[in-house]
Symmetry: C2
Subunit: 353 residues, 2 copies
């Protein structure tokens, strides 16, 4: 759904079975970022990619622990989070924020779960093309499908955004919402990440799960605001992040209500409805949430406007950017990356504070 270009030959996949993540966090204040800081290196190689099965147990554990953010390295970023939560929840303080106004928004790709070697939703789309190919004999001679089915990703990508859009529409439209949801669930139940061999729903960042839980313990309502497809995320966000479908904002295609054999269905149409990225994120926030977040978390140029919009409200605010800079345990990428671009301009703005 995002605008992207992909270079398969240059994605740095290594064949390791566990990926740990260490990233710098930039506390964003006035202009954008407050201070640079990085997280606990994590002696335990499993510390930062979190097992889904343990989410509930973990949440309970976190609630008991004296430290609500045990995976986070001590430093300015963690201090900024804890200080922010303390002041907005302290009654009669000048920074107190009433519970209904405690809205926190999170980007998904690259912020809550990984996004390398490419957006997981695009990997889903590629797998779907392969699965649907027997029903589409015409794809053998039709780009971008012909190249894709031959494993020639360079050929696919020569078609640019138009080719990606065709792949997305061929795999995301033409079925009912219920059918699409089931397809997403089935894929997630079996598909494995090409580098780690793990289910995609385990490629999530443990420090961010801790942060989500910590905010909710302090009566924040946590929302996803992602460039990814809203209906691609909703089938699993409640289980994996504790974020229910009605708190997921994302990109979408149009749907149409109709009766099929007397039964109401919503059919997914091959037409873009909304792109929830860059300047679309404040629009999506306004449309779905209807009030301004007091905290926002992202990792790329696509999140800049969400952070600006959050910052422009009155009172205490917390804006943070995840910077992926640990090639050993995860991926290191930034300005040069086609996925999750963190431009030099954004970095300069972030460091300005």
């Amino acid at each position: 759904m995002r605008k992207y270009r992909i270079d398969f030959g240059d994605c740095g996949i290594q064949s390791v079975s566990v990926v740990d993540v260490s990233y710098s966090l930039h506390g964003v204040a006035r202009k954008l970022i407050r201070s640079e800081e990085s997280m606990k290196p994590g002696s335990n190689k499993h510390i930062l990619i979190y097992m889904v099965a343990g989410v509930l147990a973990f949440a309970a554990m976190a609630a008991r622990a004296a430290d609500p953010l045990p995976s986070w390295r001590e430093g300015p970023a963690k201090q900024a989070i804890v200080a922010f939560v303390a002041k907005v929840t302290k009654e009669h303080s000048p920074d107190f924020v009433s519970i209904p106004e405690r809205i926190a928004t999170f980007d998904n790709d690259g912020t809550l779960w990984a996004e390398q070697p490419m957006y997981f939703q695009l990997l889903f789309a590629l797998d779907r093309v392969k699965a649907l190919a027997p029903q589409h004999p015409e794809w053998k001679d039709q780009e971008p499908f012909a190249s894709l089915l031959k494993g020639d990703m360079k050929g696919v990508l020569e078609g640019g955004e138009k080719a990606i859009a065709e792949i997305v529409m061929a795999t995301h439209a033409g079925m009912t919402t219920a059918e699409f949801e089931q397809t997403v669930k089935d894929w997630l139940a079996t598909a494995k990440h090409p580098k780690t061999g793990r289910p995609y729903t385990e490629m999530v960042y443990k420090p961010m799960l801790e942060l989500l839980a910590y905010l909710r313990e302090n009566h924040f309502k946590t929302f996803i605001v992602s460039g990814g497809g809203i209906e691609f995320m909703r089938p699993w966000t409640e289980k994996v992040y504790g974020i229910p479908p009605e708190q997921v904002v994302g990109s979408s295609i149009k749907t149409k209500y109709e009766l099929r054999d007397g039964k109401p269905v919503l059919v997914r149409l091959p037409e873009i409805n909304f792109i929830d990225d860059k300047a679309g994120k404040p629009v999506g926030i306004n449309s779905h949430i209807g009030r301004r977040p007091i905290a926002a978390f992202g990792n790329s140029d696509g999140d800049q406007q969400m952070l600006e919009w959050t910052q422009a409200g009155g009172g205490a605010r917390l804006m943070m950017l995840v910077h992926h800079d640990d090639a050993e345990r995860e991926w290191a990428y930034g300005a040069e990356s086609k996925i999750g671009t963190f431009s030099d301009a954004l970095m300069a703005e972030a460091k300005q504070q």
Copy 2:
């Protein structure tokens, strides 16, 4: 935002200062409606229009009361509501519904607040044209504004839907979201209903406030799903109904993010984004909520698809239609009404059960 025609000469306004409401409730099951039933006539003339200032006190009172729906006449409709809530909240019962799945949706115009002599949002738009006229000298010679400013509503309505759309866009677009919100709040603080002389936010149905509170006490999440403008409702629904902005679904125009003097704003554009009426209601529910309601409440043809969509899910369901049939205490209208049309076809479907 809805499709409507209006006949000013025929709206049956009487100069009484208090409007009470008695309406029939149709419990909708399989096909549409289960049984006909009406509500307590209400010896107290204030019983059914509820004072905003008392909402919180009322909610506390309702929680203490043995009867959670004291304004409701004993009968099949009330029994159906109480029985439904009992079975979906009873653990280990076959009809038990987990808390996150307890989604209830309510139409607004004619279901939660009144909609006669015309949609209140249209009355707002007419008032805004008058207020904005000094800044638009060209309106004196330009329809539909010229007729409107002369008080000639018949002239306005000769322009049909196009005229209404022009009035809506002239009054709902061209400002920031924050400016529009303030305008709505200012209008509601001073405008009075033409028949009752009361603020519009007091033209709400007490039995429905009781129902909202009762469902929430049973851990339902209550949503508005209305043909009205989403940003026209959000400034007041939390205070009046206890429904926060993120649980309001409605019609919308497009917005655009931009920086004005370095400050981020969302500008309201004169372009329809989404019409949340009829077949649009299931689309809006899917877009904003992402799961199917187990209970839905409406009052007109515009709600039919929302009720069908609700009904088509598995397990226990409750679908109800308010029928306005008390001309003495409120308004009686149905198939012939241009506002809140309750067609004979819908009634037949409703009575079928």
